[in-house]
């Protein structure tokens, strides 16, 4: 039997594997019926030690769309973790009941602990502020769908680049493609941390630009990845009030943007993208949600070694 593959960090996958997953995701999107029975008889356990609507439902939808079944829990309070059971013991138990596990946990590194003990593949559905690789795969599939490529792109990240794990993870993934330029748009307080800037962007010699002015850089962007600027990240209310509106995307601010730019957002959004932007053809964030289901279908097939 071949070694069990898990997905804990996006960098667990090679560029070739990511490309293959994206290609498979696209084939599934084009003909979902052809895949409707691929996982018949297989069970996915969704272990959500921390609530998440979108991620959990997308995993469940993906497994059900492949003809498989799902079981699990959606909050730690509903699991034996509430009785003090360790992650390792929970995973050993659930490995006996399922063929694949998707888990989210508030503690960073919990999925790695799980993978070490699991006898079935484990997918990290988010561990604290650390990793969220299936969101990154979702982002990559959406970019591929909208732009037709993952290379030679100027990618703008806007908002909270300090705490946004989806931003760090996507930068890590895109840094491995040719011709990528990053434009980092954030207030001083929420700039990309040095372990991303130094260890990923500068170490790979990638061109990048840091700015606080979204509108000034808008014309060069092929992708604009928005994130939420959260009030609780600021030390004082004044700074928050001063900055919050500069990072709200409105039709006005889009005036200078390329006609084929794509706007992405990991969602949920609060007010950082005005609803008036939703009907703009450049808005890609709802297609992103759709992609999330299909890329997870592709990932499940890969980790379960199920041939097309």
């Amino acid at each position: 039997m071949s070694e069990i593959r898990h997905l804990i960090d996006i960098l667990d996958l090679s560029v070739e594997e990511i490309d293959a997953l994206i290609a498979l995701g696209e084939r599934i999107m084009d003909d979902p019926a052809a895949y409707a029975d691929k996982c018949r008889g297989k069970i996915m356990a969704t272990l959500f030690f921390e609530p998440s609507t979108r991620t959990r439902l997308s995993f469940e939808s993906a497994m059900l769309s492949l003809g498989g079944s799902v079981l699990g829990f959606s909050a730690a309070a509903n699991s034996s973790a509430a009785k003090g059971e360790s992650v390792a013991d929970t995973i050993r138990t659930v490995s006996a009941y399922s063929d694949i596990i998707a888990m989210r946990h508030p503690k960073e590194g919990a999925p790695l602990v799980a993978a070490a003990k699991a006898t079935v593949p484990v997918i990290n559905g988010g561990d604290g502020g650390h990793n969220h690789p299936t969101q990154t795969l979702t982002d990559l599939l959406t970019i591929q769908r909208r732009k037709g490529r993952l290379h030679d792109l100027t990618v703008g990240f806007c908002g909270d680049l300090k705490f946004g794990r989806t931003v760090h993870s996507l930068i890590n993934a895109l840094a491995r493609y040719q011709g990528i330029k990053f434009v980092l748009i954030a207030p001083e307080e929420l700039k990309v941390p040095s372990y991303v800037k130094k260890d990923v962007i500068q170490k790979n010699g990638l061109p990048y630009e840091q700015t606080t002015d979204l509108e000034a850089v808008m014309p060069e962007l092929d992708i604009l990845y928005m994130t939420r600027v959260q009030r609780e990240r600021f030390f004082n209310e004044e700074d928050y009030l001063r900055l919050k509106d500069s990072y709200i995307l409105t039709p006005d601010k889009l005036r200078g943007a390329k006609s084929d730019m794509t706007i992405l957002h990991p969602l949920p959004r609060v007010n950082e993208i005005s609803t008036a932007v939703d009907d703009d053809p450049r808005a890609g964030y709802f297609e992103q949600v759709r992609c999330g289901r299909f890329i997870r279908m592709a990932l499940i097939l890969k980790l379960l070694n199920i041939a097309e």
Partner: protein, 141 residues
């Protein structure tokens, strides 16, 4: 200043000046009941100033943690008053069970039986990160 030479024991030499107490703490030398001499700010041709620790007992010490403090440290094993072995150190690839992750969101903060492990991620800048949450290791000096 003279410190008596030891008959059977260990001399940890070429410790960067000021780091001997960090080593004393991390190697739990306070728990030993044999003589332990900490010599600080010894004039050294190569290093300017250095610290030395002499332990009057042969015991297994964690060479990884010494390599982490400084790969220039040397460990001399003394038997019958003579040096029988000189160990050169290197930056270890992994540090296990010596330091604890300080990230309150790390899984090790709630599951204390998990082994604390730190991986060398940047040799040039001597950066170690927790294998679970990737938080950079910081030690109290």
């Amino acid at each position: 200043m003279n410190i008596d030479s030891i008959k059977n024991g260990i001399v940890i030499d070429h410790i960067p000046a000021g780091e001997s107490m960090t080593i004393y703490r991390l190697l739990h030398l306070d728990r030993l009941d044999c003589s332990v001499a900490i010599i600080k700010n010894v004039v050294s041709g190569k290093m300017g100033k250095k610290d030395i620790i002499k332990i009057d007992s042969t015991l297994d010490i964690d060479l990884d943690i010494l390599g982490f403090i400084s790969p220039d440290i040397t460990v001399n094993i003394i038997r019958d008053g003579a040096r029988v072995e000189k160990k050169q150190l290197a930056l270890p690839e992994m540090l296990t069970g010596v330091l604890a992750c300080k990230n309150p969101r790390c899984i090790t903060s709630v599951e204390q039986e998990l082994p604390q492990r730190f991986k060398l991620t940047d040799r040039e800048n001597k950066v170690y990160r927790c294998i679970y949450c990737e938080t950079k290791v910081e030690i109290k000096r």
